[in-house]
Symmetry: none
Subunit: 194 residues, 4 copies
DNA sequence: GATGAATGAGACTTCATTCAT
DNA sequence: AATGAATGAAGTCTCATTCAT
């Protein structure tokens, strides 16, 4: 099915993701979103209550895909260490290959729009959410393999470096290749392993 | 020297820092900056070319102070490990006690305004800048004490977790006390030590 | 004949009367009229040229019914005074029991839409229209019973108080019961009787 | 003092009164109000929070002047009947000479904006407001001179006919000259006198 | 005949910037 | 130097109307 036959609301969502990640929310007038979507301004308001609703909808789309990606990469047959490395690697690779999604998420979480959600499930400290593969991992299989630290620190030592490197990668300061990703994942593990 | 006698441009800068960190660039009309500064709108334009110039000036002010703070906390008499711990601790404590500055920097770097500067000196990968105490440390005293990794990864393993925790702290998800800061600094070291 | 089998254009007219009287012309988007009518937006445009035509059509419907009601209540066997009282009472009771119609008329006449028609037949000074029972009454049977005043003043002393009270009734400032209606009709008569 | 030197907010208020009375609230875009005021759109928002606030401000201006006019025309030395005639005459003459004010008030009270105030003091049933010369009159001097009717009916018999005639006058259906005004005032009195 | 998605003109409002005082 | 009233471009959103299905 060609893009021309896609759901119009999906067309708008993708165009908005592009526009937002390139220009930011405030430099993305609805008129421009409309142009990029190939629809009229009014049509956007048929699918989304207002600009804010559109932003949240883009977030949901991005977040859902990210979650599915990571969840699918979790391999319970691996050792605790190897599953950790695997998860970190998958997450980093995905975001590195999807810079628009990464930029959007960064912007969303640091904006008033995302302050509710605080952190996305995969980037967050929502410690009760066992559906998060990372939280699940830290709460289960790795017991005894890790230093005794608060969950929030496990998460900070995992996501913090990744996010930092992804930013540098976007800025062109760093080339985030497989080797560097591997090194990063191992360093993260070393930071928290017993 | 009381605030009343300060340079008028400094008064504006401080008021702008407050306003920007609390409300964001786009919810900070110049008229409001003027009110909070206790000056007229027109006066802001005497000291700064336009709103964007003011934003960059606030950044310079914040960045300068941050640099000075960290540079002053560097203690060459300590061992490589201890100096690292010391630097990380100082930086984290400073930003934790100055949430306005942290919020401003976060916002600045994720905005079009800060995309030029890429990363502030202390949060960055500007690898040639030996005046940055971290770069200086990784390039000198710690030689041989660390795994052989790219500088950018050293920096990512240092700043990434801090920034992540500071965000969580601001969101109220985590209490960033001395103990957690100490644990974090040590974990960072473990991540990169040989 | 149930409402479901009514003429589609009548269904639209009734829904529009409701909507207009409750929300006013400008807070009644055609889409909402469609929803309340249970028809599609496009269908409204099959029966009415545009929104303005619909408004005029609602007026005609309301005005026709009102005329018929009053005309039917005229009783030529009564004395001039009693027929006057009877007409005033009927008109007031009808409008008091049909607040939607009254609200609509008020709105219509005070809007650009109704400025053409000036005044509805029953509320007007259309002095040549003998089909209007009031005009008919003032021009015939009551000759000699009334002070010598212009017809427009007869009409003003008749309809003015009624309209005023109906407004107050709608506002909840007054309870327009049978007693008050009777008192009003008599006061109107006293105002103009010889 | 020429109009050019008037308070700018007054200039806007007068232009708005004109525009609203001629075209109605909904056919008076702020851009047109600005043009007629000879100011930029933005300037209107310096003086009034939004269009609604402007509408209310126009009402206050009109209502204040009307109140003052009527209050000043009250003559306590006259008999109850003569003071009543005097008040009715003054009110009618004032509104007849100020059709813009009359149109505005009609529109205001029949709009959502004026539904709070229900009725203006001089056109209303606010029965406790003795500062209203009419209410004051009906509650005092005329005791015993009037039929025993509810205050709301006194008011309806007073204002109803006037408003009706003023509408007809605006429509050109009637010429509201001194003679007709006098006849009306007397008919009103006859309607309620004992 | 009926439908309702699509359109885009136009309304309201904000706010960076200017400039006469 | 300081002031703040004035400006108008630009943004968000609504809704009457059209037209392909």
């Amino acid at each position: 099915m060609s893009i021309a036959h896609k759901n119009k609301s999906d067309v708008i969502l993708y165009a908005a993701l592009k526009q937002f990640s390139e220009n930011g929310f405030h430099s993305s007038p609805v008129s421009q979103l409309a142009t990029r979507s190939g629809v009229a301004v009014g049509s956007i308001y048929r699918y989304f209550d207002d600009k804010e609703a559109l932003i949240h909808a883009v977030f949901s789309m991005v977040d859902d895909t990210l979650q599915k990606t990571i969840t699918e990469s979790a391999d319970p047959t691996l050792s605790g260490r190897d599953e950790f490395i695997q998860l970190v690697t998958s997450l980093t690779e995905y975001l590195n290959k999807h810079p628009q999604e990464f930029k959007f998420l960064e912007q969303y979480y640091s904006s008033p729009y995302g302050s509710d959600k605080k952190h996305a499930k995969f980037l967050s400290d929502d410690s009760v959410d066992l559906s998060n593969p990372f939280v699940n991992l830290f709460s289960g299989k790795t017991k005894g393999m890790l230093k005794d630290l608060p969950l929030s620190l496990y998460l900070a030592m995992t996501f913090g470096p990744i996010i930092f490197l992804l930013r540098d990668s976007l800025s062109g300061l760093v080339t985030l290749d497989d080797c560097l990703i591997q090194q990063t994942a191992e360093a993260c593990w070393n930071a928290i392993k017993a």
